[in-house]
């Protein structure tokens, strides 16, 4: 059997998180709404109405293009793509055919093995979404709530080489989209949709062979699986003397099987022409510069900076830059804490993370602000409270909104700072455990931990462990 490599290009449709649709003022997000309640004459294709472009869709589209290092076109145009389908009420889709908002660009993928794979972008363009249909007893029912939602279609060059790479692309793209705030990118809600173009060739060849298109892959796992299946299918086909035919394939997530939808040879003639109801989309140099200036530090760059500036491990840096709110929180907490970044990262990756999971909150939703977290950490580091108290404070501050120092004061959680008081408690414990004192003095040094535990119990957790050990050692070794 020959050595084959698979060549994959991905087409993603990204639903922008604007307030309103791209060509009318209906809501962009109507996931919860009853069918056909979020419609108007424009998005339901009535006669006589006209599209009016949403400027925020342009800004977000340009921002995404900039994030992809693409060239943002100062003048782009809309075109009509004409075809008949029930979810397309005008009988044409307004899209950008030959002068899109973004051309070229690339997306660097950070692969798990540490390698960076660069995926080139062919183009990004704005277009309107279609409605939704469903089958019900032989009738096709149509809902236009989603019709007209702004989409960016992004097409890569055929640079991906495995289902795993495709999965990484989608994962990191999703992270980026949320990071720069242009899309919620939730694949389950259709905010991010993906079609994969797959072909195979002998390794070393530069030729691009006939490709098939896989549609209806609704999750990152499905994309990975479907590509793996299709690669296998094509290889088997070619090995047995067959030829790959340019089909559109549908992925059934339930059965894990691909089925032929239609032959791409009979492709529709869309008769693209400039949309006469819209004027060209013009972005001045100032506007483009201002949009680019809005680009935040992107995840990969921030991750590298966290590793370099804060000395975080690769793993820690990755977790803390997985979501923009979380990484902003981390930086604010470090700045507020003023000490070792690693201390903060430990707290965030363990106890804070647990808290966020328990409450189902993201970092930016916490009542426990970075400054408040920093206060807790500082109190522990300075020995004012012990670690266990500190951890319990996280929840207490989150629930009450009160400052940690206030809670410590009110509930008397401070570490017993008074050496005499502590000494007295320790002496009491020793006095109550003569047998263990004997054993310790006889050489069983491991009992020190047990003594510390006893002291902790006796003081309700408020003894400072370090001080306790010092005093214990002093008294036991007399």
């Amino acid at each position: 059997m020959k050595d084959y490599e698979v060549v994959i290009g991905l087409e993603t449709h990204i639903q922008l998180n604007t307030q309103t649709k791209i060509f009318c003022s209906c809501k962009a997000d109507s996931w919860e709404a009853e069918p056909n309640t979020n419609i108007c004459p424009v998005c339901s294709g009535m006669p006589g109405v006209l599209p009016v472009l949403n400027r925020e869709a342009v800004r977000k589209g340009a921002l995404l293009a900039a994030a992809m290092h693409a060239e943002v076109n100062p003048v782009s145009h809309f075109d009509r793509k004409n075809y008949f389908y029930p979810d397309l009420p005008k009988g044409y889709q307004i899209t950008q055919f030959d002068e899109p908002i973004g051309k070229g660009g690339y997306f660097d993928l950070h692969m798990p093995d540490g390698v960076t794979r660069r995926v080139r972008i062919h183009k990004l363009h704005l277009e309107e979404d279609a409605g939704k249909t469903k089958l019900d007893h032989g009738l096709r029912l149509v809902d236009f709530n989603r019709c007209g939602v702004p989409l960016v279609e992004m097409v890569t060059e055929p640079d991906l080489r495995s289902g795993e790479e495709a999965a990484q692309y989608l994962t990191q793209l999703r992270q980026l989209l949320r990071w720069i705030g242009v899309s919620e990118a939730d694949m389950e809600r259709g905010h991010l949709r993906c079609d994969a173009n797959v072909s195979i060739r002998e390794r070393g060849s530069q030729v691009l062979n006939t490709k098939t298109e896989i549609k209806n892959v609704n999750s990152i796992d499905a994309v990975r699986q479907a590509i793996i299946e299709e690669t296998k299918r094509q290889i088997e086909l070619v090995e047995s003397g067959g030829k790959v035919v340019s089909y559109t394939l549908d992925w059934d997530a339930d059965t894990g099987k691909l089925s032929m939808m239609r032959s791409k040879e009979t492709e529709a003639d869309y008769r693209y022409f400039r949309e006469p109801d819209l004027l060209p989309v013009v972005l001045t140099e100032e506007q483009i510069a201002s949009i680019k200036a809005e680009l935040p530090e992107l995840p990969l760059a921030r991750k590298a900076r966290f590793e370099a500036d804060y000395g975080l491990s690769v793993y820690d840096a990755e977790i803390l830059t997985s979501e923009r709110g979380l990484s902003d929180y981390f930086e604010a907490a470090v700045a507020s804490f003023g000490g070792e970044a690693k201390t903060v990262s430990n707290w965030m990756m363990n106890d804070l993370s647990r808290l966020m999971n328990d409450l189902g909150k993201s970092a930016s939703e916490l009542v426990l602000t970075p400054a408040l977290l920093a206060q807790i950490i500082r109190m522990v580091e300075e020995g004012k409270i012990n670690a266990a108290t500190g951890k319990s404070l996280l929840r207490k501050v989150e629930d009450s909104g009160r400052a940690p120092a206030e809670i410590v004061e009110a509930e008397g959680l401070a570490v017993i700072a008074d050496s005499d008081a502590l000494r007295a408690q320790i002496q009491a414990v020793l006095a109550a455990s003569p047998a263990e004192v004997e054993s310790f003095r006889a050489g069983k040094e491991s009992l020190l931990g047990w003594f510390v535990g006893q002291v902790m119990r006796a003081t309700g957790g408020k003894a400072d462990p370090k001080r306790t050990r010092e005093i214990l050692n002093e008294l036991l070794n007399k």
Partner: protein
């Protein structure tokens, strides 16, 4: 000089593309008229284009108001839109299924 004409085969294809159906007498009339119109359109193919001429979409340079702000303005009566449909079910537009659909 001969001008291009639309053949009956191409005509048939266009009818499909246009989602139309024609009875033969109407079809014959339409095809004849189309080819007559093409003889007029033919002049376009002959006219020498001026060197620097760019296609124009509207003739004049349109100065429109530009894109609108992203503010939700619900249409007051979406039910009126649905009410005009030939057939609905459960608040959705109802049609027979697409041939050959999944």
């Amino acid at each position: 000089m001969s001008i291009s004409k639309i053949s009956p085969e191409l005509f048939h294809k266009l009818v499909g593309l246009a989602a139309l159906e024609l009875i033969s007498a109407e079809g014959a009339y339409l095809l004849t008229e189309m080819n007559h119109q093409l003889s007029s359109v033919n002049a376009l193919l002959q006219v020498p284009l001026e060197d620097d001429i760019q296609p124009t979409l509207h003739g004049i340079e349109c100065q429109g108001a530009g894109p609108r702000t992203d503010v939700w303005q619900p249409f007051p009566t979406p039910s009126e839109i649905l009410a005009g449909a030939p057939e609905t079910e459960d608040g959705m537009f109802a049609v027979p299924d697409v041939k050959g659909a999944k």
